[in-house]
């Protein structure tokens, strides 16, 4: 187990460097960011040259990348064009997005798995068909439609909530945005669980468990679910990374100032330091989430051993 973890951690190193280099190059292809800082006019050449020097933009790209990575390892992610440290931006943005992601994942797990179990156990019944239809609708409607619709209905028409999230972004305020963010994944989780449950329901060990006279609840939670959840866990694990980085649309609709907002603003303003910094952290989150998922397999399925 320990060796497996170490091997996986070592594998992360090339992935990490490759991913950051790719982002770095992509942001650079967009061109000189200083030109966009002076409004509808040419930056005066002296100030522009000075800014380029200060942000290290006058050096060749490989040099910039090395210098940047060197700084990252000392915890310095550079300074955004508005003079704020990128670490400062991260300190405000990540807690918000993590809260939002937690809300979304809780919805995925609670509603997604519950619906999956219900439909999986009653395959072909009206419950099953109607939930299937519902998930199909959710999957096919884009997030921004569900988001704007809920915002308009709950926020403006019925007045149940504030249409936008306040700067504190408390957990309670994030429930609707979290639901919107989770909606598509939630539908997938339902479908995955359903298929998995339906398949395993006929497995020998389930029949044995029932034959032993175990109560139905125990058969489902202990025997059936535990085995059926492996693909679902994989999905949710990778989804955590996707939810954190992919919340741009949801964050925009509900005015949540999290990672998505900083990335969006960073890209619009070609703020290399912000974009590369945030994406680097997201890459790390993604890698670690994947590792945790793989380790969880062993817990769920004793047959899986890591050496």
């Amino acid at each position: 187990m320990g060796r497996y973890v170490i091997r996986r951690l070592l594998q992360m190193i090339p992935v990490f460097f490759g991913a950051t280099l790719l982002i770095f190059l992509m942001v650079h292809v967009m061109g000189d960011p200083v030109a966009g800082l002076c409004g509808e006019r040419r930056c005066d050449p002296a100030t522009a040259a000075q800014l380029r020097r200060e942000f290290g933009l006058d050096k060749p790209v490989w040099h910039q990348y090395l210098a940047y990575m060197g700084n990252v390892f000392t915890g310095d992610f550079g300074t955004a064009f508005n003079g704020q440290r990128v670490t400062e931006l991260m300190a405000t943005a990540f807690p918000v997005t993590i809260r939002l992601t937690v809300v979304a994942v809780v919805f995925e797990i609670a509603i997604g798995i519950a619906l999956g179990v219900i439909t999986g156990m009653r395959r072909g019944r009206p419950v099953d068909s109607s939930v299937l239809l519902l998930t199909l609708v959710v999957i096919s409607v884009p997030t921004f439609v569900t988001g704007l619709l809920l915002q308009l209905l709950l926020g403006v028409q019925w007045g149940w909530m504030r249409p936008s999230v306040s700067p504190d972004a408390a957990l309670g305020e994030l429930i609707v945005p979290g639901l919107v963010l989770a909606s598509v994944s939630l539908a997938y989780v339902t479908r995955l669980t359903r298929t998995s449950i339906a398949e395993n329901k006929r497995a020998d060990y389930v029949r044995t468990a029932i034959a032993k006279g175990l109560p139905r609840r125990r058969v489902i939670t202990r025997h059936l679910l535990r085995n059926s959840l492996i693909p679902v866990i994989t999905f949710i694990g990778t989804d955590i990374g996707a939810l954190m980085g992919g919340a741009i649309v949801t964050e925009r609709i509900f005015n949540i100032h999290g990672v998505g907002y900083q990335l969006y603003q960073g890209i619009l303003r070609q703020n290399i330091q912000t974009v590369v910094g945030f994406v680097t952290v997201l890459v790390l989150v993604f890698l670690i989430a994947n590792l945790l998922v793989d380790l969880l397999y062993a817990v769920l399925d004793p047959r899986i051993r890591y050496a």
């Binding site: 040419r42 100030t47 639901l179 005015n255 303003r269």
Partner: protein, 539 residues
């Protein structure tokens, strides 16, 4: 229907949790007499000489008062901190600061507060993006050389001659120089700005009607009425909470739901419904913004004599009335000169100066384009940035107009660029394949500001590198003219040169618009399309 039950249960639970959260959360303008207003994250640090966009400008307008202030209604430059500004020759100015003004930390505003601030703004090492505003002052080439290291720290043209007086010597004659002093870059700065710069940036200190109570960067700024303010324009409310919105649509939704009091940029998509939604609580007033199509004169195909006919033809092909009415819902007005109505006739605005060249006339348009040798390359590609505003819609509409007039579906196509920064890059590299979007928001309400930066040889925003000796000569003469009316006449003659060559096609004058809640009254926008916060009454 049993399957739907869990979903409904979840929605119910979510709603219950939300109402609970809403009770604890508290609304936007919860403090009495304080209004909440939409804001965008300022692009640059909030230093006066480093702020060149409207969002940072809003804050500076509340927190600072300069020597002059532009009247929020008439745009006329009026003395604010300036007691008097005298000049014998339009080149040497003696400025006397009024007595009794203070910064909100108690420090008195003196001549030195100005001179230090201007020196800071001009100095290359401080990276101030508005440094060129000090370019008229003698010694600027030493503190801010085009290339190489700076050889001086302070402008030799600035001298403190007393606690409340200082002198300014310009590098050349510039009669309307005092009228430019209402621009935020010329604001005075307290010692705290220099001595504790980081702290100052976290919580700016100024001499305006409001003081910054708290500032969470990227989220919210709370400004409160400063009771020690002695100026004539004291705040009539207790404060303003500026809230950052990523999307103007969300701000508008918040206004509808009663969580926000003031939105100063109604999104284009909502303009259709705004009358229904807000009734009389929607304002749409002219701002000092002109949209034009400029041309790449570095491209020999556009420089060739005779192409002015092609450009005039293109101008006449555009149905400005139709586009401003249908796409912009009258938040733009068809342009008929190269300035803005906010200048007023005395200030140099002259409706109809463009004449027939700005009137929709498809037949003459087609004829002129043919006389001028046809479109260079057989097609014009209008370049614009697609990330902000509704540029795509109007560029497509303009192209449609041109195609209809010329009877050729391929005559004009849009050429979108992903981001504004990239668009500016391509402009800087002189790689425009054809006409391009050129928007101009005035820095100060003078006709000079609508002409010199854009069409003077080497002007800071002359992105098409248009150059004309007659134009330059007229502008020089106008700047040296001490009589305001004759200066304006000379500028208008220079504008005539722009027209005769159709250096840029004027499209429309842009309005500022805003919507507000029932709690507010006396809401207005100034000519810079910034709300006049201090006049707003709450409740």
């Amino acid at each position: 229907m049993r399957g739907a039950r869990p979903a409904r249960w979840a929605a119910g639970a979510a709603a219950a949790a939300l109402t609970a959260a809403a009770c604890g959360g508290g609304g936007g303008g919860s403090a009495p007499g304080v209004l909440s207003a939409s804001w965008g994250d300022p692009q640059n640090p909030l230093e006066p000489a480093n702020t060149n966009e409207v969002q940072g400008g809003k804050v500076l307008d509340m927190v600072f008062r300069g020597l002059k202030r532009y009247n929020p209604r008439t745009a006329a430059p009026e003395n604010m901190l300036a007691d008097r500004i005298d000049s014998p020759d339009s080149r040497n100015f003696t400025i006397t600061v009024k007595n009794g003004w203070r910064f909100s930390n108690g420090e008195p505003v003196t001549a030195r507060s100005f001179v230090d601030a201007w020196n800071y703004g001009a100095s290359l090492k401080n990276n101030q993006k508005n440094a060129y505003f000090f370019g008229y002052i003698e010694g600027y080439d030493k503190v801010h050389p085009e290339t190489g290291a700076q050889t001086a720290d302070t402008l030799s043209g600035l001298k403190v001659t007393g606690t409340r007086t200082f002198t300014v010597r310009l590098a050349q004659k510039f009669s309307t120089f005092p009228d430019t002093l209402g621009y935020a870059a010329f604001s005075p700065l307290p010692r705290a700005f220099f001595d504790h710069h980081e702290d100052w940036l976290r919580k700016p200190i100024g001499n305006g009607p409001y003081r910054v109570a708290s500032y969470t960067r990227g989220f919210k700024m709370s400004l409160r009425k400063w009771d020690g303010y002695r100026g004539p324009d004291k705040a009539r409310n207790n404060g303003v909470d500026l809230q950052v919105y990523t999307d103007t649509n969300t701000a508008y939704t918040d206004l509808m739901a009663g969580n926000l009091d003031l939105v100063d940029d109604v999104p284009a998509a909502q303009l259709k419904y705004v009358k229904n939604d807000l009734g009389g609580r929607y304002i749409n007033t002219p701002a000092g913004i002109l949209q034009t199509l400029a041309f790449p004169f570095y491209d020999p195909r556009w420089k060739r004599p005779g192409t002015q006919k092609v450009r005039t033809g293109l101008s006449m092909a555009i149905d400005r009335n139709l586009i401003t009415r249908t796409i912009f819902r009258n938040t733009r007005t068809p342009a008929s000169d190269w300035t803005s109505p906010v200048l007023g006739t005395a200030g140099g605005f002259k409706a109809g100066l463009c004449g027939a060249a700005c009137r929709h006339d498809p037949h003459r348009a087609k004829k002129l384009v043919q006389e001028g040798g046809g479109l260079p390359g057989g097609q014009v590609r209008i370049t614009y940035n697609a990330d902000t505003g509704s540029h795509k819609q109007w560029v497509d509409a303009v192209c449609n107009s041109i195609n209809n007039a010329l009877g050729d579906n391929e005559a004009c196509v849009g050429n979108p660029v992903g981001t504004f920064a990239d668009f500016r890059n391509q402009l800087g590299r002189h790689s425009m394949p054809g006409p391009f979007r050129a928007g101009w928001q005035m820095d100060y309400p003078l006709i000079q500001n609508f002409l010199q930066p854009l069409y003077y040889t080497g002007g800071s925003s002359n992105d098409g590198t248009w150059s004309d000796k007659d134009f330059d000569r007229l502008v020089d003469r106008a700047n040296a003219e001490s009589d305001r009316a004759s200066a304006v006449r000379l500028f208008q003659r220079a504008e005539g040169v722009v027209r005769d060559n159709m250096a840029a096609i004027p499209l429309w004058y842009q309005n500022g618009n805003a919507g507000y809640s029932r709690r507010l009254s006396h809401v207005a926008l100034n000519p810079f399309s910034v709300p006049v916060y201090d006049e707003i009454k709450v409740g």
